[in-house]
Symmetry: C2
Subunit: 455 residues, 2 copies
């Protein structure tokens, strides 16, 4: 199959049908009317905007969440915007099917209407990046810029997004670190088409800095500061936001996800196939067999999922897993790999370790011998010896990894996500065994399928 043939097959699956289009457009009109009415009722000076992929017409078929932004005048004090914004959002949402309050930088309303999710978000009505006051304010500017520059290449964006989704490199959430929708749009605008973005992948990485807004000319000082800062953070790409020279659009893109894109882009061009866009789910295998094959072991901590959104929970679980990795390493167990997640009200941290038991004594490094603390150490320990200036002694320790973990937890010696301490403290610790729901995750962790670039 050649590239064009594949694209011909993908297009009808990512492009919304006329029916879908009519449905969401109707929905948006209805919502706009509702919003304007409510604004008038509450006597507010607020403009409703639609933003996001729906408003830009770059959404994938079947994937139509609505973002309704309520733009307050710049003169509104922040506190008032928070209060009135939530009030207004709630008043609109009450006229829809259902709603809840969600929390990001500021609280907003997440409503559902005719099966579609509608985020109702208060923001400032900014005209330029100099006005930006809250994280969401830029969305209106992004929307405008894309509409002005896309020039009918909407389907090219759809192809790129679907490709990124298929290879699991889509999503700028902190626990994904992939490509955002806006970044995909910018790449298509800059390089012309889905295929050209893929063909220029090597060049894009080497060039590193993309400046579609021409900020390096227009605001050299600010733009250079952004480039320097992001280069120091060692980002794979620095895409100066065309609507704000202070921001790298690709700030959340990690090397891992970029690497996946790197390999998959080349492979797709060499051997195009539908499976890049719509991968088949691979048949799983037995994690117990993997443990036997590798001669390694698995420790799983299972605990009640704290009531946090994924954006907050996942990074904390990751931080905790890294905390376990470091603490166990210090204690003589090697953590080869880890994985975190949650299912049905339970959160889990899975650790692949090299062994479940360690030697019964450990060497305890002490201070330099000629210090006051040197004498203390000398007096307190039974066997004391020197390596260079440093004193060492022997220490009896727990042998099994479960005992070691409980001791580390009770002594507060594992750095954990801040909202997880209590939950992890009460965790069940499972050795070389997981509940049925996690068997697949365990298998994917152990055989690295989860991250396998060649999957």
């Amino acid at each position: 199959m050649d590239v064009e043939a594949v694209i011909e097959e993908v297009l009808p699956r990512v492009r919304p049908t006329e029916e879908e289009r009519a449905f969401v457009e109707g929905l948006m009109k209805e919502l706009e009317k509702l919003a304007v009415e409510t604004i008038v009722e509450l006597d507010l000076e607020v403009k409703p905007y639609f933003v996001g992929s729906l408003a830009k017409d770059t959404y994938l078929a079947g994937d139509h969440d609505i973002d309704l932004f309520l733009a307050f005048p710049l003169k509104t004090p922040l506190e008032e915007l928070r209060k009135k914004g939530l009030e207004l959002g709630r008043a609109i949402a009450k006229r829809l099917d259902s709603y809840e309050i969600a929390y990001a930088e500021h609280p907003y309303v997440r409503a559902y209407y005719r099966g579609v999710k509608v985020d109702i978000v208060p923001c400032y009505d900014v005209k330029s990046w100099r006005d930006v006051r809250t994280a969401v304010d830029r969305s209106i500017l992004h929307n405008r810029w894309v509409l002005e520059n896309l020039g009918g290449r909407n389907d090219e964006v759809r192809l790129l997004k679907r490709f990124l989704k298929g290879i699991k490199a889509y999503g700028s959430e902190i626990y994904v670190r992939g490509f955002s929708g806006y970044l995909a749009e910018i790449l298509v605008i800059k390089y012309g088409s889905f295929l050209e973005v893929l063909q220029k992948e090597d060049f894009i990485l080497r060039q590193k800095v993309i400046d579609p807004g021409n900020w390096l000319k227009r605001e050299p000082e600010i733009a250079m500061k952004t480039v320097k800062r992001e280069a120091e953070e060692d980002r794979p790409l620095i895409v100066i936001d065309p609507v704000d020279p202070r921001r790298n659009v690709a700030a959340n893109l990690g090397w891992e996800r970029y690497g996946v894109f790197h390999f998959k882009a080349h492979q797709f061009l060499e051997a195009p196939s539908l499976s890049f866009f719509f991968p088949e789910e691979k048949a799983g295998g037995s994690y117990l067999e993997e443990l036997r094959r590798k001669g390694t072991h698995m420790v799983t901590l299972l605990f009640e999922k704290p009531n946090l959104v994924d954006d907050v929970l996942m990074p904390q679980l990751e931080r905790s897993a890294r905390g376990f990795e470091r603490a166990l390493q210090r204690e003589g167990f090697r953590v080869l790999e880890w994985n975190v997640g949650h299912f049905r009200g339970k959160a889990f941290i899975m650790l692949e370790v090299d062994r479940l038991e360690r030697e019964k004594v450990r060497i305890k490094p002490g201070p330099e011998f000629f210090t006051e603390r040197g004498w203390d150490f000398y007096r307190k320990n039974e066997r004391v010896w020197l390596r260079g200036k440093r004193l060492y002694a022997e220490k009896r320790v727990k042998e099994g990894i479960v005992d070691v973990i409980s001791e580390l937890l009770s002594k507060n010696q594992i750095s954990l996500g801040k909202n997880l301490r209590k939950h992890v403290g009460d965790a069940d610790v499972l050795l070389d065994y997981v509940p049925e729901e996690l068997e697949e995750e365990a298998y994917l962790l152990l055989n690295r399928e989860k991250w396998n670039l060649k999957r």
Copy 2:
């Protein structure tokens, strides 16, 4: 027991008796006569000198090796000195009981006469440090300086030497790294007596630089260069040689041996006892029990001892043990401690390790993904994943430590002493077992008695 009482008991045991004194003095006279006769016979312009603790009268009772130096005029070319020196030494030695050729910087003759070892060493007849051409030339200057400055405190030196021997901190050989006899003499000369050296131990360490020759005034540039160089090498003490401002008398003193002196000096002053000078040999224990107690394991390499003197062999064995430590660490085995040595024609390297088996797969770090080598790595391995920019893959490996060691040796991946490669390559590898002759060494290694400061 108070300090004076202890010293009263030690003195008669370290001070040579009148009989011993008469015996060695007779011996020296006889040797001198022989040497002078032989020099005349060979028609050489050479002066015989006695150096070392016997010539300085600081030898311990029963410990009377003789150092006979044959001093050639400065004008003698080095090659001639080596050749004629050996010739002359041999000619003298032939009139003694037996002899052999030994090798240091230059070959010399080691003879035995009436049960006493006599080293016959050619050197230059130097008058000042500026004349020094070979490593042994300073001995004559050392001898003269000690004789001029000791002022009758010979027994104080004997006490200090015996104390250092008792606590196992005596000997400047590279594999001991303790106090030399000359350093002990300088300390007594500088601080007045055995007790004062012990009392001032803290002060000596803090002051760090000792300059009995007043070189920092007489030759400030050269002496400061010595101080700087030795400070950079982080020596515990910098004792500028009173006969040569370029040299640190304590260059071979390691922190470990100094640390032993530190603790033992304090302890002796707090609770004086004969055992510091004449320690009782502690009863040994079972190394197998130690292995059980600690939950660790022991790997012993046993091989034919290469025909090298200890000064050369021991550092090479140590280097090899460290090579094993690093190589095994890289392979996932932790080396907790090691010990080397030889007995009855066999040399050994003992390693205490955390386990004998490891997991069956290892994680192989690869190059950064966006390089040419990145593609190679990607193509060559089955499972490939990313952590940051770096590719990783899985590798099947040998499980048992014996297999791992043979593979490392066959691939030349252990850094070994240069004369040991062949011998170590043919070594027997013993697991958790040693031949009877090594049982005590194994026990001392495992329970750290060998280095235990509290022994």
